[in-house]
Symmetry: C2
Subunit: 221 residues, 2 copies
DNA sequence: TCCAATATCGCACTCAGTGCGAATTTACGC
DNA sequence: GCGTAAATTCGCACTGAGTGCGATATTGGA
């Protein structure tokens, strides 16, 4: 039914090897659980959907569910932007280093955001707001993204002091979060004429620039 | 045993009235639960401490616990900086408005941080890092602070565009979060010679200024 | 003093998540 | 092919958090 695949299987990935039957089945099962879970969540809500319902609908035993996911929440979390979290590191590695880390982050976030603004991601995001702990865990994921971002930045801009790149990562993810809030509000107020997330992200970064204009060889894209 | 009181009772506060016996007992009971909970958490860890243990040690029935707290997590969350979250709004209202919102936030955070760097707050904070959901919910609380901050800023600097003050609030709380990370790392590495949180907060704001120098009538304190 | 609101409590229940271990399936070297 | 080790699936029983319901006690105020 759905397109974008969740990630992160229990055991470590085997990079070079060709994927055997075992791995394929595992991936398929995990995907099936994730699909089923999201579908049931959308139909009945997150809390009203029991683990047993997911397991039954996915054709596995209750106990097997926990072999693939640590918790019910993790099923939904796996749809967090449908791979956005995992894509951001690699995306930043593609960026040229003749721009500032913040400008690079801005550019690659704009690209990613456009790629991941799908129906499924939007539905999952709405569900992510239905519970206190889910809202909280989404924030935790953004902090994870911030850490990854800072990590990659530190690798690619080794000349810049680490505190600077960490600050840049914080600014970038903070801007992303504010932009997402605006975007959601926009959609709630004008469901038809709402602008894409990328627009809001641009506006938020522009705001950041204004409040805090670029320095030292930073350019605006 | 402890000093700082958790807050937020079930029913709304009665501002002008003198506090009757009923209210006092309620506050006492809630405080006793919070104290007992924190003590047991510190002794045995968060997950190893059951609700029944807290209820028994606090001298109440298991069912009564849920009359005061929504969940076990909330007992610990109530110690979040021991009132820091609630103090930030009022503190910002005291700040003069001839400085920029960000500068004001910086100043009042510096003050608060010094006031709330207590043994209890530190212990509670360590416990808040022992579980994924607790970590996440702490972040959620910081976002709540960000919202409150933006709210008060909007009231007190009505001339500034709301997006600007929200961005300023994001920057301030983001800086607070990074500073707290540094401070914790500092304590982990040099338990004896570690610098106070206020120092790290100063450093982080300085970094923010550098990455993003102040504009438009902003001054450094 | 009586009434209504608040507070305390017990009971039974649902559901998430875990520990243990058995049964099954797959990968892989021989 | 064959056998072994590892990975996967599953059932069962258990703990513990949180809820719904309703009964009882306590308190504030008319």
């Amino acid at each position: 039914m759905d397109t974008a695949p969740p990630s992160a299987l229990p055991s470590a990935a085997t990079p070079g090897k060709t994927e055997g039957l075992r791995d394929r089945k595992r991936r398929e099962t995990m995907q099936r659980i994730a699909d089923t879970g999201l579908r049931l969540f959308m139909e009945n809500g997150f809390e009203a959907t029991t683990l047993d319902a997911i397991a039954a609908a996915a054709g596995i035993a209750r106990r097997t569910f926990f072999y693939y996911f640590k918790s019910k929440e993790d099923v939904l979390l796996a749809w967090q932007g449908s791979g956005f979290v995992e894509a951001i590191g690699p995306a930043l590695r593609q960026e040229p280093t003749d721009q500032s880390p913040l400008a690079a982050a801005r550019h690659c976030l704009l690209t990613l955001v456009a790629r991941f603004e799908t129906k499924v991601a939007i539905a999952a995001d709405a569900l992510l707001r239905s519970t206190e702990t889910l809202r909280a865990r989404k924030l935790a994921k953004m902090v994870d993204m911030e850490r990854d971002l800072a990590q990659v930045m530190a690798e690619r801009w080794p000349d810049r002091p680490p505190e600077d790149v960490r600050m840049a990562a914080m600014l970038a993810i903070g801007a992303l979060r504010l932009a997402q809030e605006d975007w959601r509000r926009d959609h709630a107020a004008h469901p038809d004429t709402a602008r894409p997330l990328a627009d809001h992200l641009n506006a938020t970064f522009a705001l950041l620039d204004r409040q805090v204009p670029p320095v030292q060889g930073e350019e605006r894209p």
